[in-house]
């Protein structure tokens, strides 16, 4: 199979992979929230959570295929339709992050009392939203 055909297959599967890595990010965030509530956060779990949050970000906004395909094929993979979807995912994710941080600012100003896990949930939701939004846009394309 020529590389360009493989690149097209990659484009077809990219949305699905984005969904799964974002799902893991959300599940990991829920584990962290549960651990914070229990007051027993295992030593390496938050580090793993932070590292894993980078995976959906790199997958959606990075340059997948850097290690595998030529520059021409990478340009095909990250063409203007992909950039449009990245842009839409960034907008939705930023909205979620800003909403979460706005609530945090209410606490700072003394108007609200938030649980300690709120910032963790905000970051996880922001990252997850970007991944899910990108996945939905990619997977809803006509074949």
């Amino acid at each position: 199979m020529p590389e360009s055909a493989q690149a097209d297959r990659f484009v077809a599967s990219r949305g699905r992979i984005s969904f799964y890595v974002s799902l893991v990010a959300i599940l990991w965030t829920l584990v962290i929230i549960w651990a914070v509530n229990e007051g027993e956060v295992p030593g390496i779990t938050p580090i793993g959570w932070g590292v894993w949050l980078l995976v959906p970000m790199v997958w959606v906004f990075g340059l997948p295929g850097l290690w595998r395909w030529s520059q021409t094929d990478r340009a095909r993979i990250n063409d203007e339709l992909a950039r449009e979807h990245q842009h839409s995912a960034a907008v939705v994710s930023m909205f979620v992050l800003m909403a979460g941080l706005a609530v945090v600012s209410l606490q700072v100003l003394g108007y609200a009392s938030l649980p300690t896990w709120w910032p963790v949930a905000t970051i996880g939701a922001g990252v997850g939203t970007a991944g899910f939004c990108f996945a939905w846009l990619q997977m809803s394309l006509p074949e």
């Binding site: 095909r76 063409d79 339709l81």
Partner: protein, 75 residues
Amino acid sequence: MRAGKLEIRLREFRTSAGLTQAELAELVGVSRKTVNTVENGVFIPSTLLALQLAAVLGCKVEDIFSLPVRSSAAN
């Protein structure tokens, strides 16, 4: 195919040229899905991509993408 107020005749020109979506995508350097979404009016391409498509298909951009002709003139 119509995308909002845009008439798109990419599929006609592509089939006339005897190209598949994958072949056209390869020639203009985008993914096959991008060509497909343009043909189906899901995605309106940039000016650069529109010019590349026209150049590859040997026609003008306005042959592929055009505004719909109004049935009556606006006053």
